[in-house]
């Protein structure tokens, strides 16, 4: 199984209308090379699942500015004015999800769960249209799993089987998204030989990772 591919090969798997999860938190750190290649290719009508839309000139934010996203499932858009503008203009459909619920919905997608029951969002607009389930006298929202066609994630150190170590605060949604997409592509700061990552310190096992591309540095 050859997992190491070029950016072109990676981007050729991504087509108009797909649902894509992208790791990162306020651009720290998005898969920058793959995003730039997506912009160059110009795929459109994408459903994007990501914590936020970063900044207009950084990472994921650029896909918004370039109007390649049709639908967005996210927890926060405040750092990218263009996202709000497109939402208000009716050009971009936005589903706002509490950050913890977003993480748990992605994990549920990866874990084969039919959903999770969370108290977050009760009594707010978040509960609109959702089932409320009572468990032992307490109310919870039933939040459904999320899955995607492709997950684009970032790793610091990745071995050729796809085992990943993340660096510091860049872990965020990456390990979750790696479990919840049909095809998972990791952009690696550093690609190492199999065996160079201690089995105790693997953060995403290589069985979740389909392809590896080299990172910006």
């Amino acid at each position: 199984m050859k997992k190491l591919i070029s950016i072109d090969e990676a981007v050729n798997m991504i087509h108009d209308g797909m649902t894509i999860m992208v790791g990162g938190f306020l651009g720290c750190k998005n898969p920058f090379r793959m995003i730039d290649a997506l912009i160059e290719k110009g795929v459109k009508d994408i459903t994007l699942i990501a914590n936020d839309t970063a900044f207009p000139e950084i990472g994921l934010g650029k896909l918004i500015v370039n109007k390649q996203i049709k639908r967005l499932i996210t927890s926060h858009i405040g750092t990218n004015k263009e996202t709000g503008n497109q939402m208000n203009a009716g050009e971009l459909e936005v589903e706002l999800v509490p950050q913890g619920t977003l993480a748990e919905r992605i994990r549920a997608g990866g874990a084969g769960l039919g959903g999770i029951l969370t108290p977050t969002g009760l009594g707010t607009v978040v509960e609109e249209g959702k089932e409320i389930i009572e468990v032992d006298g307490k109310k919870y929202l039933l939040e459904k799993p999320l899955k995607a066609d492709i997950a684009l994630i970032v790793g610091k150190k990745v071995d050729k089987k796809g085992n990943i170590q993340y660096n510091k605060a860049t872990r965020n949604f990456n390990p979750l998204m790696a479990t919840a997409a049909e095809t998972v592509i990791v952009e690696a700061d550093e690609i190492v030989e199999v065996g160079e990552i201690d089995q105790d310190n693997v953060m995403t096992p290589g069985i979740f990772v389909d392809y590896i591309v080299g990172g910006a540095k």
């Binding site: 996210t74 509490p98 950050q99 913890g100 993480a103 992605i106 969002g121 965020n172 979750l176």
Partner: protein
């Protein structure tokens, strides 16, 4: 007091609420400054919802690491004894009640402890980020804010803006006083001696309960 003095006054009073060993999550803006006033001799662990505990101060200039930011996207550091984790574990910590105290700002808060701090329909819809989980899950929710906004009440009988969560607030700290959310309503526990009870009631839409042993804010 000028703007900075008010901010520091509130942050310093909030810091007095923290106890040795507490895990604390500070929202962006004013709450961030609470970290500057943590009392001597108590050990606080700061949680950052993008994925770590043990948050330290901003790095020295030139030592910023682009893989190391807080939930507001600012460069920070991590202390020895800290730990990184993913977003699911970060919110397991938050939702699961493993954060002892969260300090957040508010647009509105009401006498039942309802909180609105994430959107103004038609004007500002940034998204809730981690706020809904934080105020639902943290053991103690402290609102740290200016008592009014451009003369308008922020402490209301009933929130008018879309809620962040229902009945979640435990304590409100402003430059005028400290109010606790109780079953009977808002209990004024401390007052800034620069103001009278009448001043603070006039600046508050909700009716304040004034106890016999009303204390002075000592900051």
């Amino acid at each position: 007091m000028d703007k900075n003095a008010i901010r520091n006054f509130i942050a310093k009073r909030v810091a007095q609420e923290l106890k040795d060993g507490d895990v604390v999550n500070l929202g962006i803006g004013l709450p961030t400054f609470v970290a500057n006033f943590i009392p001597e001799g108590i050990d606080i662990t700061l949680q950052s919802e993008n994925g770590f505990v043990g948050m330290g101060p901003a790095p020295a200039e030139g030592e910023e690491d682009c893989d190391m930011v807080n939930a507001g996207g600012q460069h920070v550091t991590i202390l020895p004894g800290g730990a990184f984790f993913d977003s699911a574990e970060s919110f397991l910590i938050i939702r699961g009640g493993h954060v002892d105290v969260t300090v957040l700002g508010a647009l509105e808060v009401d006498e039942k402890g309802n909180l609105a701090n994430w959107m103004v329909p038609g004007k500002m819809v940034p998204g809730m980020g981690g706020a809904m989980d934080l105020v639902t899950g943290a053991k103690k929710v402290i609102i740290a804010m200016n008592h009014t906004a451009k003369g308008n009440h922020k402490i209301l009988k009933k929130c008018r803006l879309p809620l962040t969560a229902m009945e979640c607030v435990d304590l409100i700290v402003t430059e005028m006083g400290v109010m606790e959310v109780t079953d009977k309503g808002l209990l004024l526990k401390e007052i800034n001696p620069e103001f009278t009870v009448e001043d603070i009631q006039n600046a508050t839409e909700a009716e304040l309960i004034i106890p016999d042993d009303l204390k002075k804010m000592a900051v």
